[in-house]
Each structure stands twice: as C-alpha cells, then as structure tokens.
Symmetry: C2
Subunit: 206 residues, 2 copies
DNA sequence: AACTGAACTGAACTTAACTCAGGTTGATCT
DNA sequence: AGATCAACCTGAGTTAAGTTCAGTTCAGTT
C-alpha cells in the first residue's frame, strides 16, 4: 500500500493546468479522440513539454482517475462520518456522490469510461504505479460501501444479504449515471440524486 | 430508422471468423490494447485482408456493439412476451439479461466499455451507419425497460415514479455487472442474477 | 478457356504518440 | 548585481500501428 505523493508544484509548474485541460478534453471529446497535442495547445506549451510532467498521455489519464477515486473516497468518509443510523448514512453517501462540480462530473465520466485500463498492467514504472494506486482505491471505495452495508445488516437495519455483491451493485447503480448524465441535459442532477437515493434505500433496506 | 442488413456471407467469407476473433481479443485484452494485426493472425489472413470486410478496426468494434445490442433487445422481447404480470415480466427480463454464453459475456463487456463511442459522430460512412444503428438500438433497449415500468405503474403493480429515469437506472444496475464479472471469478453468474433480480424488484415495486 | 467478382497480399503511406539533444528561464544564494 | 542550477521548454527526428494502394489469386460461371 504505497500512496502516491503528488509532486509538489514548483512556482511555474503547469501540471495543474495540464490536468484541468486534459479533464476538459478527455471528458468532452473522449480520451482516444483527443490529440495529446491539443491539450498542450490549450495550456499554451509545446507538445513535448507535456512529457516534463507526464510520462505519457495514458499516465495523465491514470493520474486523473486516481485523483478522482481519492476524492470519491474522501467525500464518502466525510459524508458518512456522523450519520445517526445506517439508513441515514446510506442516504448521505448517495447524496455526497452526486454533490459534485461540473469539472468533477467530467472526471467521473472519464473514470467510468476507462475503468478497464486498471486491469492489465503497464509497461513503464510511473504508469504502473498510478494504475496500482488507482486499483487499490477502487477496492477502498468498494469496501466503503460494503462496510456500510455490513454495519447496517449486523445492526438489523438492513436485511441480511451478500454485502459484497450488493455493495458492488449499489456502487454500480450510482456510477452508471455518469455514462449518460450531461449538465446540459434535460434532467437536473438533483432529480437524479433523489431518485437514486430512494432506489438505493429500497434495494438495501427493504 | 434504417436497419443495417448483414452482408450476406459468400461461401469463403471470413467475416464471422473475424468477428469471433475480434470479440475474443477485444474482450480479453481490450480494444485499444489489441493490435488489429493480431486479429488477422488469429484468423489466418494478412492484416490488409481485414479491410475487405471492415472499413477499420473501429468499424469492426461498432459492428460487434450493434450486434450485441440487437441481441439484448431480442432477448428482452422474447423473455417478456408472455409474462403474466409486470413483476413477473421484470423478473424474466432480468434473468434473460444474465442468461448468456461466455462469448456473449465478452460482447457485453466490450459494449459497456465503449458506449462513449456512440456519442461523437464518425468520419466514414459505414462507420457512421453502424454508430447510428447502435445508438438507435440503445434507445430501443432503454424504451424496452421504460415501457415495462410504465405498464407496471399504470397497472398499479409499481408505485408511480419517473419511468424514464428509473428505467435507465435499472438498466444501468444490470449492465454494471459486466464491468467486473469474470467467468473465472469467485461469483457464479446465477448468484449475480438472483441478487440483481431481487434488487430490481425492490427498486421498482416497493 | 475466358470471364467475373470475392478474397487476398506486400509495399508504401499517414498520423499521432513519443524520444532526444540541447536551449531558456527564473528563483535563490553569495 | 551576477552566478548558478534545476526546472522548464523546444524543434527535429523516430516509431508503431492503423490504413491505402496497386495489383494478384482463386472459385465458380458461361
């Protein structure tokens, strides 16, 4: 369990700017469809300067995914830490999952669209490190949900079921939204959040 | 609504063999990670022969996705056509979704991992045709589920809720399984099927 | 046997990611 | 202020994989 430390930013580092631009491009246009050089242009540097910060286009993608996973986990912990009962914790966790900025919507979309990257191992060290870190965070997040369910079940709030499988399903349900949701679309996120919150509670607690 | 007609196979056509090989490769290794030339090798032809059957690697992928979507729709219709009540129809539809061969598991995985391809339009005609056809089928499948819910709601079997949104959620829950499920994994598909079936009924009917 | 269209091939082309060898900049220290 | 050094950046060149092209082979038909 080696946690990746973010390279501390030198005063003229463009790392953050690159990540932001990459999230926009990858999120709107798709990872494969966006040229790495376009990201450079948007930041205002030559293409090769990107390699000062990231080993490859994929390394940048993996970084985005890892950061987003970390954020998801942090928010889950923050949201559930002082919930009275399991049902309230569940509700709070779902609401937290949809309490996101437009930028974070893109990050979730990117994350969901490239989960498969986390399976196969990578050639280069830094890429592989990010991949492993991201993979571990996926498991952490899955455990977050499973633990919530286990607690509720042992406490009698939820009927007994396979908590692992049910946890994965709840999580799958929640994140499936990011495949189709668009801020510009007809359905506001608040509406999604409410419906999914109810659905999760019924799934788990009835 | 122009439905793509499968090019009728000449007696020595390798189209089917290519699709099978591609499903194996794309499913196991991932689309980006598998070299188009590897597919050719596995079929036993030169790389350039592939272009006799498909305009591009992506065209092949889109074809796989469209075929799988068509299959999903057909199975849904078949499974629900003679169900007594809405709850039974719902149960039957979920069971049908998981009543699949190993090859079909791969196809679902490929489909789920590349849904984003269906958003942006394609340069060449044949690719674009496949994309549009696939997109339409996505909507058809979504309508399948929505209609099922609408019927159940109007019939009083399901409480009234946003059927569109709930339909998308149910579908999202069901297909989310294909991101992590592996035939070689610890959880048999029958177990998944039962848990999800229950979860869907609770989500929709309680 | 000549013909036809489907099936195929080797060599050349294209594109976008990436490497390299070196140049510039600016924060920091004396 | 001037020197220094690491961080930062660049243009030119390389590579790999998908794709195109200009034909060739093969099986069935007339």
């Amino acid at each position: 369990m080696t946690r990746i430390v973010e390279p501390e930013a030198g005063p003229r580092s463009k790392r953050a700017a690159i990540l932001t631009a990459a999230v926009d491009c990858f999120g709107e246009t798709g990872f494969e469809a966006t040229k790495w050089s376009t990201v450079a242009e948007r930041v205002g540097i030559g293409q090769t300067a990107l390699y000062h910060y990231f080993e490859s286009k994929t390394h940048c993608l993996l970084t985005i995914m890892r950061v987003e996973l970390q954020r998801s986990h942090d928010r889950f912990v923050e949201a559930t830490k002082d919930a009275a009962d399991p049902v309230e914790a569940l509700r709070a966790a779902v609401r937290a999952a949809y309490d996101v900025s437009p930028q974070e919507v893109l990050q979730m979309r990117i994350l969901q669209n490239h989960m498969d990257l986390l399976s196969g191992s990578r050639r280069s060290k830094r890429e592989e490190d990010e991949r492993v870190a991201a993979r571990q965070l996926v498991q952490v997040v899955e455990r977050d949900w499973t633990n919530l369910l286990v607690k509720g079940m042992s406490q009698g709030s939820f009927p007994l079921r396979d908590a692992q499988l049910l946890g994965a399903s709840v999580l799958g349900l929640i994140v499936s939204v990011w495949r189709w949701y668009r801020p510009s679309g007809p359905t506001p996120l608040s509406e999604v959040s409410e419906l999914i919150e109810g659905a999760c509670v019924r799934m788990v607690a009835s």
